[in-house]
Protein backbone atom coordinates (compact mmCIF):
# COMPACT_ATOMS: atom_id res chain seq x y z
CA UNK A 1 0.00 0.00 0.00
CA UNK A 2 1.08 3.54 -0.65
CA UNK A 3 0.65 6.70 1.35
CA UNK A 4 1.56 10.35 0.91
CA UNK A 5 2.25 12.88 3.63
CA UNK A 6 2.33 16.59 2.98
CA UNK A 7 4.04 17.96 6.02
CA UNK A 8 2.50 21.42 6.05
CA UNK A 9 -1.21 22.09 5.77
CA UNK A 10 -0.66 25.82 5.24
CA UNK A 11 2.38 27.77 4.07
CA UNK A 12 2.20 31.57 4.27
CA UNK A 13 4.89 33.42 2.34
CA UNK A 14 5.50 36.93 1.09
CA UNK A 15 5.49 37.75 -2.59
CA UNK A 16 8.86 37.26 -4.34
CA UNK A 17 10.13 35.02 -1.52
CA UNK A 18 11.19 31.42 -2.18
CA UNK A 19 8.95 28.56 -1.09
CA UNK A 20 9.23 24.83 -0.52
CA UNK A 21 6.22 22.53 -0.12
CA UNK A 22 7.19 19.22 1.40
CA UNK A 23 5.99 15.79 0.36
CA UNK A 24 7.02 12.38 1.64
CA UNK A 25 5.67 9.07 0.45
CA UNK A 26 5.66 5.47 1.52
CA UNK A 27 5.45 2.57 -0.91
CA UNK A 28 6.58 -1.03 -1.21
CA UNK A 29 6.78 -0.70 -5.02
CA UNK A 30 8.26 1.80 -7.43
CA UNK A 31 6.07 4.81 -8.01
CA UNK A 32 5.45 7.73 -10.29
CA UNK A 33 5.26 11.09 -8.50
CA UNK A 34 3.10 14.11 -9.28
CA UNK A 35 2.31 17.59 -8.08
CA UNK A 36 -1.05 19.11 -8.93
CA UNK A 37 -2.36 22.62 -8.22
CA UNK A 38 -5.96 23.52 -7.49
CA UNK A 39 -7.22 27.09 -7.71
CA UNK A 40 -10.47 27.90 -5.87
CA UNK A 41 -13.49 26.06 -7.26
CA UNK A 42 -11.49 24.51 -10.08
CA UNK A 43 -10.22 21.08 -10.98
CA UNK A 44 -6.65 19.90 -10.56
CA UNK A 45 -3.97 21.05 -12.96
CA UNK A 46 -0.77 19.08 -13.43
CA UNK A 47 2.28 21.07 -12.30
CA UNK A 48 4.97 18.48 -12.89
CA UNK A 49 5.72 14.79 -12.71
CA UNK A 50 8.60 12.42 -12.10
CA UNK A 51 8.53 9.27 -14.18
CA UNK A 52 12.21 8.37 -14.54
CA UNK A 53 15.62 9.85 -15.37
CA UNK A 54 16.83 13.12 -13.89
CA UNK A 55 15.68 13.56 -10.32
CA UNK A 56 15.20 17.31 -10.76
CA UNK A 57 11.96 17.95 -12.59
CA UNK A 58 10.84 21.29 -13.95
CA UNK A 59 7.18 22.14 -14.36
CA UNK A 60 4.90 24.96 -15.31
CA UNK A 61 4.79 28.40 -13.69
CA UNK A 62 8.44 28.24 -12.60
CA UNK A 63 8.00 25.32 -10.19
CA UNK A 64 10.44 22.46 -9.82
CA UNK A 65 10.67 19.36 -7.67
CA UNK A 66 13.41 16.96 -6.71
CA UNK A 67 12.91 13.23 -6.27
CA UNK A 68 14.99 11.82 -3.42
CA UNK A 69 14.68 8.05 -3.36
CA UNK A 70 16.65 7.52 -0.16
CA UNK A 71 14.47 9.98 1.74
CA UNK A 72 11.31 9.03 -0.18
CA UNK A 73 10.60 12.69 -0.75
CA UNK A 74 9.41 14.84 -3.63
CA UNK A 75 9.51 18.43 -2.42
CA UNK A 76 8.16 21.24 -4.58
CA UNK A 77 10.06 24.52 -4.85
CA UNK A 78 9.82 27.91 -6.46
CA UNK A 79 12.53 30.57 -6.12
CA UNK A 80 10.16 33.55 -6.21
CA UNK A 81 6.41 33.32 -5.72
CA UNK A 82 3.67 35.55 -7.05
CA UNK A 83 0.28 36.45 -5.66
CA UNK A 84 -1.22 34.29 -8.42
CA UNK A 85 0.48 31.20 -6.95
CA UNK A 86 -1.99 31.27 -4.06
CA UNK A 87 -3.74 27.90 -4.33
CA UNK A 88 -3.84 24.41 -2.89
CA UNK A 89 -1.11 22.01 -3.91
CA UNK A 90 -1.40 18.23 -3.92
CA UNK A 91 1.34 15.65 -4.04
CA UNK A 92 0.35 12.25 -5.44
CA UNK A 93 1.85 8.86 -6.26
CA UNK A 94 0.82 5.95 -8.43
CA UNK A 95 2.13 2.43 -8.84
CA UNK A 96 4.45 2.20 -11.86
CA UNK A 97 4.14 -1.54 -12.23
CA UNK A 98 2.81 -3.09 -15.43
CA UNK A 99 -0.94 -3.52 -15.47
CA UNK A 100 -1.38 -0.86 -12.82
CA UNK A 101 -4.77 0.77 -12.52
CA UNK A 102 -3.38 4.28 -12.49
CA UNK A 103 -4.93 4.91 -9.09
CA UNK A 104 -3.54 8.10 -7.59
CA UNK A 105 -2.90 8.33 -3.87
CA UNK A 106 -3.00 11.95 -2.76
CA UNK A 107 -1.61 13.81 0.17
CA UNK A 108 -3.93 16.00 2.21
CA UNK A 109 -2.87 19.12 0.36
CA UNK A 110 -0.92 22.26 1.26
CA UNK A 111 -2.48 25.68 1.01
CA UNK A 112 0.03 28.22 -0.25
CA UNK A 113 -0.89 31.74 0.80
CA UNK A 114 1.16 34.42 -0.91
CA UNK A 115 0.97 37.78 0.81
CA UNK A 116 1.79 41.16 -0.78
Amino acid sequence: AQSVTQLDSQVPVFEEAPVELRCNYSSSVSVYLFWYVQYPNQGLQLLLKYLSGSTLVKGINGFEAEFNKSQTSFHLRKPSVHISDTAEYFCAVSDRGSGNTGKLIFGQGTTLQVKP
Binding site: G43, L46, L51, T101, G102, L104, G109
Partner: protein, 115 residues
Protein backbone atom coordinates in the same frame (compact mmCIF):
# COMPACT_ATOMS: atom_id res chain seq x y z
CA UNK B 1 -5.96 17.92 -28.07
CA UNK B 2 -7.93 16.22 -25.34
CA UNK B 3 -10.54 17.93 -23.21
CA UNK B 4 -12.68 16.72 -20.34
CA UNK B 5 -16.09 18.09 -19.44
CA UNK B 6 -18.19 17.74 -16.34
CA UNK B 7 -21.71 18.85 -15.64
CA UNK B 8 -23.40 20.29 -13.91
CA UNK B 9 -20.83 22.64 -12.38
CA UNK B 10 -22.87 23.10 -9.22
CA UNK B 11 -25.77 21.16 -7.78
CA UNK B 12 -27.91 21.59 -4.66
CA UNK B 13 -30.04 18.57 -3.86
CA UNK B 14 -32.26 17.54 -0.95
CA UNK B 15 -31.47 14.48 1.13
CA UNK B 16 -33.04 11.37 -0.38
CA UNK B 17 -33.12 12.69 -3.94
CA UNK B 18 -31.36 10.92 -6.85
CA UNK B 19 -28.11 12.07 -8.40
CA UNK B 20 -26.54 11.91 -11.83
CA UNK B 21 -23.22 13.56 -12.65
CA UNK B 22 -21.75 13.26 -16.11
CA UNK B 23 -18.21 13.31 -17.41
CA UNK B 24 -17.16 13.17 -21.05
CA UNK B 25 -13.74 13.16 -22.67
CA UNK B 26 -12.93 14.38 -26.16
CA UNK B 27 -9.93 13.79 -28.38
CA UNK B 28 -8.94 10.32 -27.22
CA UNK B 29 -10.15 6.75 -27.51
CA UNK B 30 -10.42 4.01 -24.90
CA UNK B 31 -9.35 6.18 -21.98
CA UNK B 32 -9.22 4.98 -18.40
CA UNK B 33 -11.71 7.06 -16.43
CA UNK B 34 -11.85 7.94 -12.74
CA UNK B 35 -14.22 9.54 -10.24
CA UNK B 36 -12.72 11.23 -7.18
CA UNK B 37 -14.42 13.02 -4.32
CA UNK B 38 -12.92 15.91 -2.43
CA UNK B 39 -14.67 16.44 0.88
CA UNK B 40 -13.84 19.33 3.16
CA UNK B 41 -10.73 18.55 5.18
CA UNK B 42 -10.42 15.02 3.77
CA UNK B 43 -8.31 15.33 0.66
CA UNK B 44 -9.06 13.47 -2.55
CA UNK B 45 -10.48 9.97 -2.49
CA UNK B 46 -10.82 7.66 -5.49
CA UNK B 47 -14.39 6.39 -5.78
CA UNK B 48 -14.52 4.45 -9.06
CA UNK B 49 -12.42 3.72 -12.09
CA UNK B 50 -13.12 2.18 -15.47
CA UNK B 51 -10.83 0.66 -18.09
CA UNK B 52 -13.57 0.17 -20.69
CA UNK B 53 -17.27 0.26 -21.52
CA UNK B 54 -19.31 -1.45 -18.84
CA UNK B 55 -16.22 -2.13 -16.69
CA UNK B 56 -16.41 -0.44 -13.31
CA UNK B 57 -14.25 -0.95 -10.25
CA UNK B 58 -15.34 0.44 -6.91
CA UNK B 59 -12.77 1.58 -4.41
CA UNK B 60 -14.95 2.19 -1.38
CA UNK B 61 -18.38 0.92 -0.35
CA UNK B 62 -20.84 3.78 -0.31
CA UNK B 63 -24.08 5.26 -1.45
CA UNK B 64 -22.86 5.89 -4.98
CA UNK B 65 -22.53 3.92 -8.22
CA UNK B 66 -20.86 4.53 -11.55
CA UNK B 67 -21.54 3.51 -15.13
CA UNK B 68 -19.75 3.79 -18.44
CA UNK B 69 -22.33 3.48 -21.20
CA UNK B 70 -20.01 4.80 -23.92
CA UNK B 71 -16.26 4.82 -24.46
CA UNK B 72 -15.79 8.43 -23.42
CA UNK B 73 -18.67 8.88 -20.99
CA UNK B 74 -18.57 8.22 -17.27
CA UNK B 75 -21.59 8.73 -15.02
CA UNK B 76 -21.78 8.92 -11.24
CA UNK B 77 -25.16 8.16 -9.70
CA UNK B 78 -27.05 7.73 -6.49
CA UNK B 79 -30.60 6.59 -5.83
CA UNK B 80 -30.87 8.46 -2.53
CA UNK B 81 -28.44 11.17 -1.50
CA UNK B 82 -27.09 11.46 2.03
CA UNK B 83 -25.77 14.58 3.72
CA UNK B 84 -22.34 12.96 3.69
CA UNK B 85 -22.39 12.87 -0.11
CA UNK B 86 -21.72 16.60 -0.22
CA UNK B 87 -18.38 17.49 -1.76
CA UNK B 88 -16.49 18.35 -4.90
CA UNK B 89 -16.56 15.55 -7.47
CA UNK B 90 -13.74 15.33 -9.96
CA UNK B 91 -13.56 13.19 -13.06
CA UNK B 92 -10.18 12.30 -14.52
CA UNK B 93 -8.83 10.40 -17.52
CA UNK B 94 -5.59 8.85 -18.64
CA UNK B 95 -4.57 7.22 -21.89
CA UNK B 96 -5.72 3.63 -22.03
CA UNK B 97 -3.01 2.46 -24.37
CA UNK B 98 0.78 2.74 -24.22
CA UNK B 99 2.21 6.22 -24.36
CA UNK B 100 1.52 8.83 -21.75
CA UNK B 101 -0.72 6.63 -19.65
CA UNK B 102 1.14 7.45 -16.46
CA UNK B 103 -0.60 10.80 -16.07
CA UNK B 104 -4.17 11.60 -15.11
CA UNK B 105 -5.87 14.79 -16.26
CA UNK B 106 -8.76 16.27 -14.34
CA UNK B 107 -12.01 17.92 -15.28
CA UNK B 108 -13.35 21.18 -13.81
CA UNK B 109 -15.39 19.37 -11.14
CA UNK B 110 -18.96 19.41 -9.85
CA UNK B 111 -19.73 20.90 -6.47
CA UNK B 112 -22.57 19.01 -4.79
CA UNK B 113 -24.36 20.30 -1.74
CA UNK B 114 -26.88 18.00 -0.12
CA UNK B 115 -29.32 19.73 2.25
Amino acid sequence: SQTIHQWPATLVQPVGSPLSLECTVEGTSNPNLYWYRQAAGRGLQLLFYSVGIGQISSEVPQNLSASRPQDRQFILSSKKLLLSDSGFYLCAWRAGLAGGRETQYFGPGTRLLVL
